[in-house]
């Protein structure tokens, strides 16, 4: 468990947050630029002197009430920023060795594992200036991991990279997430990154926590500003159920249903995370007949939120018509027009059919 209460006056706002982040998995601090997310991360690292308290896994890193403040070099953490910040006068191997040599925790992780995980074996003798942006970022992540940190902090690790480089790094971040039992706190302003990597999401706005919770839960809340974004939508944790090679399709299954999507590379049985955008979901009272839409799920309308022209529906997938679905039930968001909402006179609690035009694996 990572607990932090941090207060710091800033020119445009006062940072005032209380965070409780899970001890495993990826927690994403998400918000517009200038909302204070980087400041929170820097304060967790001790690079910024905020007032308050930081406790990681029961270890007190900062407690102003007791006059405790560990400087950054005494905190067992890894820190990765947008620009990689490799030491230009050292080759890759020496960059990796820099922190590892100084860390008392280095035995928590084998250097070879780090090098393999990030695929930087062939780069060891190179200087940072000769590396591509993506390679540099992988080395920076490896350098942080090589110290055997108890917490990995990442500040927009992908923001300085173009789409191609991003696609190059993302799989490594996901492997990291699965291969190491290491809590990660990642800062981003890109919703697709958050949706792809987060387990736990913290929404920051003008220095304050607006909402925090498990990713799927937060994404499915129609009353948060997240849902007003064009790319609003939910993520579904699922398993690959079958491939239909003849039509080039893959079916993923989850509690209460399944979805067809374009053929995926993952093997049957593999865990995957799928994203369904609110704008790709529509609803109907009757099960559609003769429809071209492959994915039709019986759902129940749980909540709705409308503004002048559009309405956002929260739907819970209810294959068996369960009366009170638990928190783990799969939810969808659907964006429809307010006119449709009123024409159909939709009421919370009523059963509907969700037609899903787009599903993407992440």
């Amino acid at each position: 468990m990572i607990e932090a209460t941090l207060r710091l006056p800033r020119r445009d706002f006062a940072l005032d947050v209380a965070l409780r982040l899970p001890a495993s998995g990826v927690s994403v601090l998400f918000g517009p630029s200038g909302c204070g997310k980087t400041t929170v991360l820097r304060a967790l690292a001790g690079l910024e002197r905020a007032a308050g308290r930081v406790v990681v896994d029961g270890e007190v890193w900062q407690d102003d009430a007791r006059g405790v403040f560990l400087p950054p070099h005494r905190r067992p953490l890894g820190y990765v920023i947008q620009e990689a910040a490799l030491f230009p006068h050292l080759d890759v191997a020496a960059n990796l060795a820099y922190g590892r040599r100084r860390s008392a925790d280095r035995d928590r992780i084998a250097l070879d594992d780090v090098v393999d995980l990030l695929g930087i074996g062939p780069l060891m003798a190179r200087r940072p200036a000769t590396l591509s942006g993506g390679e540099r970022q992988r080395v920076a992540i490896a350098r942080a991991l090589a110290t055997g940190p108890r917490l990995l902090l990442m500040d927009e690790p992908l923001a300085a990279l173009d789409a191609v480089r991003k696609a190059e790094i993302l799989p490594y971040l996901e492997r990291l997430h699965r291969a190491l039992a290491l809590p990660v706190v990642l800062v981003t302003h890109a919703l697709d990154e958050a949706a792809r990597l987060a387990d736990h999401l913290v929404l920051l706005q003008a220095g304050r926590v607006q909402a925090a919770g498990p990713l799927a839960e937060l994404l499915a809340q129609p009353d948060l500003p997240l849902s007003r974004l064009d790319e609003a939508g939910v993520v579904i944790e699922a398993e690959v159920a079958e491939h239909d090679a003849a039509y080039g399709l893959t079916r993923i299954g989850f509690a209460g249903g399944g979805l067809w999507l374009g053929q995926a590379g993952a093997a049957v049985g593999e865990r995957v995370r799928a994203r369904v955008l609110a704008r790709d979901v529509s609803v109907a009272r009757q099960a559609p007949v003769d429809s071209s839409v492959l994915n039709v799920l019986p759902v129940r309308l749980e909540a709705l939120h409308s503004d002048r022209s559009t309405a956002l529906l929260r739907l819970v997938v209810a294959d068996t018509g369960v009366a009170a679905p638990d928190a783990g039930a799969v939810r969808l968001l659907a964006r429809i027009t307010r006119r449709s909402l009123e024409t159909l006179a939709l009421q919370p609690g009523e059963p509907l059919f969700a037609q899903i035009k787009g599903v993407a694996l992440m």
Partner: protein, 229 residues
């Protein structure tokens, strides 16, 4: 060249060498502080360091003479400590040279330190390096070109000084009679041939040093360009 001229060459090299070492030892912490501080006294400190650039050497020499003389506070301190008097001694010349050449060492170092990105030092901090460790293993290596420039300029400027030397050191063979003074003396004695030998040597030396410095700077510039992604 006669023996006296060779003594002047040796003395000049000793003075410049010792001054350069002292300049780097004193100038490095001073430049680091100037590069990093947000203190309100920074402009004043930077101005004091830069004073020798704008003051006539005779003015600096005059006040140093008063300070280090028998009645001056520094002079009384050195006498009380049993170090004797500084004016008209090699030690006094070293003190004056260090002060006079300070901006030529501090300014390139300060620029080099200022060019080190804060994030490199922060990265070192998050990699468990304490403040001194960060300075020695990140700041110093990254500022290496600045050290080269500072050392070369400090040395060359000390070799080239005349006014302060004359005010503080006078013209004592083997003690304070450095090259620039020796040239002056030859000219005074209308021994132009001897003056030429020393003067031409110094012109050659200065040219060599500056060409080497600019060539190094240009190569570094090219490297820096190649390093940009």
């Amino acid at each position: 060249m006669n023996a006296a001229d060779w003594t002047a060459v040796r003395l000049t090299a000793q003075l410049a060498g010792l001054s350069t070492v002292l300049l780097l030892l004193l100038g490095t912490p001073l430049a680091w502080w100037l590069a990093r501080t947000r203190s309100a006294v920074k402009p004043l400190a930077a101005s004091l360091v830069a004073m020798p650039l704008v003051l006539p050497p005779s003015v600096l020499g005059f006040y140093l003479l008063l300070l280090m003389g028998p009645q001056g506070p520094v002079g009384q301190a050195t006498q009380a400590l049993g170090l004797g008097r500084l004016p008209f001694s090699f030690a006094g010349l070293v003190v004056a040279s260090v002060l006079y050449s300070m901006p030529f060492v501090v300014q390139p170092l300060q620029q080099a330190f200022e060019a080190i990105p804060e994030r490199a030092l922060e990265a070192a901090a998050t990699l468990r390096a304490g403040p001194l460790d960060r300075f020695l293993t990140v700041a110093l290596p990254l500022a290496r070109p600045g050290f080269l420039t500072a050392a070369v300029l400090g040395f060359a400027h000390t070799v080239g000084e005349f006014g302060v030397v004359l005010m503080i050191g006078g013209n004592i063979p083997g003690e304070t009679r450095v090259l620039s003074v020796a040239v002056y003396e030859h000219v005074e004695a209308t021994d132009f041939a001897s003056a030429h030998r020393l003067a031409a040597g110094m012109v050659g030396f200065a040219l060599l040093v500056l060409v080497a410095l600019y060539a190094l700077n240009r190569r570094r510039g090219a490297n820096a360009l190649a390093a940009t992604p």
